[in-house]
């Protein structure tokens, strides 16, 4: 028997549920599979309808849940098996090796600076790079670094111990092993959140082939001050071009050095000429790239495409609940970055059903000049210079129109998180037709298994306040369970 509670998932729902429980005096284990808690909300730039900076309002909660004497944070940890029932669950968890001693690491970041590996940064939606030893995001909690053993040179059998050498706290430990242990709890709260739908499947939208068609979450990172552009609004094509320029400049520098050496050593003139010729070619393509970059510098017209993979019987029948407001917010924030910017939102139904939502949309139109077009986008073609062209029937004028944009942002569906099906099997609860955790509408946080509760987007697509409300509700049910049975 146990009166402790396990919370699975360290996003805003899991954090809120943990805090509610901890503050009522219950011991909480908060398990998060990633190196830091924070979840999707930590990736957002701002939140609607108040335009609050997401990490600013969330940051204090991250600290609070880490520091609370009644919580035990188990990050970088997977749930592996569950036995028992309400009042007495035995949960086996695997705390994955970070290869960094959490108690010693001071998060100084020197290791990451010197690490020779560079891989796409998932937190920044792969639009930036990180090193093999990394912090999931700057404000991540616990504030420690982690070695990604899937990319680290050491774990590929290569010679490298730069991070261990540079770390003065002696926190790096390549010998660290996963720790597998059991937790005894009286109730479990599932707060495993959601995934963002991958729109590459929807071929007519050109995601993955047209560079300036991006997802709403990618746009969120582009708006963010800690994002890949430092919050400077740029098109992805411009970022790509910049990367190409950087690459080419490196090559030119290299070639120039080679030329100097060749001339100095008095090598035969043919070879020198050849290098000169190549250098000239490279300079020419550099000029071309720079011209391209200049042409991409201005970002004026952004399209927001709603219901991408949602309300679509071919992909997900359900509505993502927050997409309309999310896009209005992104349009508002983008305009705050760049006042000359024009945003157009292509929508099916404008689902602004929450408190202050409808008013927010109206303000978006009147104060930020957002252009709302009723009509779902039919296809996104590639126009002149690779610019995305949006085809759509305007349902108010009943005209088929095509408009070129500098950037197209896809409001992608909210889908069950990757591990939710296997977690359901492991814990034995049912899922609904969309793959979210099934609940009785009149018992909104009860799963089909007694003593296991659900909150946040694991239960279904919902906005942040609903997730937070549900988290508190799950905490209440967990308390009632452990008080009765634990």
């Amino acid at each position: 028997m146990s009166r402790d509670v396990l919370v699975i998932g360290g996003g805003i729902a899991g954090i809120q549920a943990s805090l509610d429980l901890a503050e009522q005096g219950f011991t909480v284990y908060l398990v998060e599979r990633l190196p830091s808690i924070g979840g999707k909300m930590a990736q957002l730039d701002k939140t609607f309808p108040t335009n609050d900076c997401s990490i600013c309002i969330m940051g204090p909660k991250l600290f609070e849940v880490e520091r609370h004497p009644n919580t035990q944070l188990l990050t970088y940890t997977d749930v592996e098996a569950v036995k028992g029932g309400a009042g007495n669950f035995t949960v086996t968890v695997r705390k994955k090796a970070r290869y960094v001693d959490e108690a010693k690491c001071t998060a100084c970041g020197l290791c990451a600076e010197k690490c020779p590996v560079s891989v796409p940064d998932v937190f920044n939606m792969n639009m930036d790079t990180r090193s093999a030893i990394y912090k999931y995001f700057p404000q991540g909690i616990p504030s420690v670094y982690t070695i990604d053993d899937s990319v680290c040179r050491i774990f590929k059998g290569k010679k490298c111990n730069i991070c261990a050498k540079i770390c003065e706290a002696k926190a790096v430990n390549y010998e660290q092993k996963d720790a597998v242990f059991d937790l005894n709890v009286g109730a479990i709260i599932v707060a495993t959140g959601f995934d963002v739908f991958d729109p590459s499947d929807i071929k007519p939208y050109g995601y993955g082939t047209i560079p300036d068609v991006i997802t709403a979450m990618e746009f969120e990172r582009l708006l963010n001050a800690s994002g890949p552009t430092g919050g400077h609004l740029e098109r992805l094509s411009s970022l790509n071009t910049k990367a190409e320029i950087e690459q080419l400049e490196k090559q030119i520098k290299h070639a120039k050095a080679g030329l100097k050496r060749a001339e100095k050593n008095g090598q035969n003139s043919d070879k020198v000429d050849e290098v000169k010729k190549r250098l000239a070619e490279m300079n020419e393509s550099l000029d071309g790239l720079k011209a391209k970059e200049a042409s991409l510098a201005e970002l004026r017209d952004i399209a927001f495409v709603q219901c991408v993979g949602s309300r679509d019987l071919r992909y997900n029948a359900h509505c993502c609940s927050y997409g309309c407001m999310h896009s209005v917010k992104e349009a508002v924030v983008a305009t705050e970055h760049e006042s000359e910017l024009k945003s157009t939102i292509f929508f099916t139904d404008m689902r602004a059903y929450g408190k202050e939502f409808h008013e927010y949309c109206l303000r978006g139109g009147s104060e930020y000049g957002i252009h709302f077009v009723r009509g779902r986008v039919a296809e996104i073609a590639q126009g002149d210079g690779g610019r995305p062209v949006v085809w759509c029937e305007d349902m108010d004028t009943r005209k088929v129109e095509q408009h070129p944009f500098d950037l197209v942002v896809l409001a992608t569906a909210c889908v069950p998180s990757q591990g939710s099906a296997s977690l359901a099997t492991m814990l034995g609860f049912n899922l609904d037709e969309s793959g979210f955790v099934k609940t009785d509408p009149n018992k909104p946080v009860d799963t089909s298994v007694q003593g296991i509760f659900v909150c946040g987007c694991a239960q279904g697509p919902m906005d942040i306040p609903s997730s937070v409300s549900l988290a508190s509700a799950a905490a209440s049910m967990a308390v009632q369970t452990v008080k009765a049975l634990g």
Binding site: I12, D20, E23, Q24, G25, T47, P49, T50, I57, F63, K104, T106, C108, L110, S143, C167, E168, A169, R311, A317, H318, C319, D349, M350, R351, A352, Y353, G354, K355, E356, H358, E359, M395, D396, R398, D432, E433, S434, P441, N442, K443, P444, V445, G460, P461, I464, P465, S466, V468, S469, L470, A471, S472, A473, A475, S476, M477, V479, K483, A484
Partner: protein, 552 residues
């Protein structure tokens, strides 16, 4: 201060993070020259075990009564060092932290000389500030393990039951003669298809069985005084007046659908509201063969510019129920935007389409016109006005706040918005809390909600309230403002400026700040013209000392 000030300064290398840019030896030497500094110690990592025990030992060895650590950001490390101070036997607030990492070594790597100067300045300012630090004590306030729940609709009843389930006593107030609220008159709730009355009766029965819940019907809240953990609520019920001591309060006063007087020929007979339709469905008295429903009646219009969230689903639910009774009945739903968010709602929307319910969109510029036996609507595909047969017209009207929301708001000193829905502490992260500690909200009182949502919020509000109720006493760190009533000139400046409406005038006409309610922002402290408000946590003396130490 009577006792001699004895300050210890600890300077962190943070490996090479600080020491790589700053000359720690020089900083230590310099700190030693500052007034009242009796010991200075460098550490490789002050936050490591050796560092914190170093602080503790130094406190004992040098009889320190103030500790200054020059290291990284207090936002992450202050709690660690405060704990060390406490363990060493000095007040944890006799501690000051200097950020020479994030604010110095990391950001001035290329100008070491200036960085060194800045670090010296920062340490000097901290030592100066440390001289004026005040001890902060935590204080306790007893908690009444009983909650007051105002409103016994589905939200209030669910909250009360959850609180009782968690082991707390509940006083439940209902202004009507019976519990149940809005659901009493309704037919079935979607998507569970449970009878609304049945759901109410289940809850009422559970409440009656639950010894911890005391329910008062025909009740009116009259007065509330006190603060978190310790409220006193006076209310009348069936002619008697009661006063209950409660630790927390949940506002679940609900809302009601708008009566669409003067809209679309509303007459309550041939043109009715959705709830009137549900009464008909419940009694089986629906015989119309053609029904037209009009959405957004009185909502999302300039006078009432909000979306009432639930009306689309109510219309969809009821149209399905009509189709169940009479498969051949024609049902048209005229909408502006269908709000079928999420999984369940969208599925029900599809189910209605499958059942043959027709959905036709209209624009606010060309609203439907209710005629005799028909409703004329501009049909976009037809490109013209089309009369739809309508033996019955059903208007979907928004949930509006109850008239008494304002009086509840006044009694509890919690705000409402322009449509008189109660205003939560934070739209995103505190949706169920009021800015005032110890008072929570749920259900339609907050904003229109489906039954699922109302129950979720009710359970959530119960959890929030339980945080207070689960403690015998609430501990609060005294980082709060206090009024020196001797100095108070009764100018009301603090009353006006406080974002949380905490300061108030006591019987003697002097300002009072209830420490349990104070949030510790210090806004009133800066506002008070008489310097009557003390704020030991960040006192004027500390700030002034830091300013004076700006220059060597």
């Amino acid at each position: 201060m009577e006792t001699e000030l004895r300050i210890g300064v600890f300077v962190c290398h943070c490996g090479i993070n600080i020491a790589g840019v700053l000359d720690i030896e020089d900083l230590c030497e310099y700190a030693g020259t500052l007034p009242n500094v009796v010991t200075v110690q460098p550490n490789l990592f002050t936050c490591a075990e050796t560092g914190t025990s170093g602080i503790k030992n130094a406190v004992k060895e040098h009889d320190l009564n103030r500790v200054v650590v020059a290291a990284c950001t207090p936002r992450t490390h202050e709690p660690i060092f405060r704990a060390s101070c406490q363990e060493a036997g000095i007040n944890p607030y006799f501690f000051e932290m200097v950020n020479i990492r994030e604010h110095c070594s990391w950001v001035h790597r290329h100008d070491r000389e200036a960085a060194q100067g800045k670090a010296r300045d920062l340490i000097r300012m901290a030592v100066a500030r440390a001289m004026f630090l005040e001890p902060i004590e935590t204080f306790k306030s007893k908690v009444e393990p009983r909650a007051l729940v105002i409103g016994a609709g589905i939200a209030g009843m669910s909250s009360a039951l959850a609180l009782a389930g968690e082991g707390f006593d509940v006083t439940l107030l209902e202004k009507k003669a019976e519990m149940g609220g809005l659901l009493r008159d309704l037919h079935k709730v979607a998507p569970s298809e449970v009878g609304a009355g049945e759901l109410v009766e289940q809850k009422v029965a559970a409440i009656k069985q639950e010894g911890r819940i005391q329910c008062f019907t025909s009740a009116t809240l009259e007065e509330v005084s006190g603060y978190v953990g310790n409220y006193s609520a006076t209310f009348s019920s069936n002619g008697n007046t009661h006063t209950h001591k409660v630790g927390a309060i949940i506002v679940a006063t609900g809302g009601a659908p708008l009566k669409p007087m003067g809209l679309y020929n509303y007459d309550g007979k041939r043109v009715i509201t959705q709830s009137e339709l549900e009464t008909k469905l419940k009694s089986g008295k629906l015989d119309a063969k053609s029904i037209v429903m009009i959405q957004c009646v009185g909502a999302r219009i300039p006078e009432r510019n909000y979306c009432s969230r639930i009306c689309c689903m109510v219309a969809i639910k009821n149209s399905l129920h009509i189709k169940e009774i009479a498969k051949d009945a024609k049902v048209f739903v005229l909408y502006r935007d269908i709000q079928a968010y999420g999984v369940e709602n969208e599925a029900l929307f599809l189910k209605a389409k499958e059942a043959g319910v027709r959905f036709i969109r209209y624009n606010l510029e060309s609203p439907p016109v209710v005629g005799d036996g028909n409703v004329e609507i501009y049909h976009p595909a037809m490109g013209k006005e089309v009369p739809l047969p309508a033996e019955l017209v059903v208007l979907s009207t928004p949930i509006v706040a109850h008239d008494d929301a304002e009086s509840v708001s006044r009694i509890l000193k919690v705000p409402v918005n322009e449509y008189r829905f109660f205003l939560e502490a934070h739209a995103k992260l505190s949706p169920l809390d009021f800015a005032t500690n110890g008072i929570y909200l749920c259900g339609n009182a907050h904003y229109p909600a489906t039954v699922r949502e109302a129950i979720s919020q009710a359970l959530g509000a119960a959890s929030r309230a339980s945080i207070i109720l689960s403690h015998d006493a609430i501990e609060r760190v005294g980082t709060v403002a206090r009024v020196d009533q001797e100095l108070c000139s009764s100018c009301f400046a603090c009353v006006k400026v406080c974002p949380y409406q905490v300061p108030h005038m006591d019987e003697g006409g002097k300002a009072m700040i209830e420490p349990m309610q104070c949030q510790g922002c210090g806004i009133c402290v800066a506002e008070c013209p008489a310097e009557a408000i003390q704020f030991g946590y960040v006192s004027d003396a500390q700030i002034m000392a830091a300013c004076e130490a700006l220059c060597a």
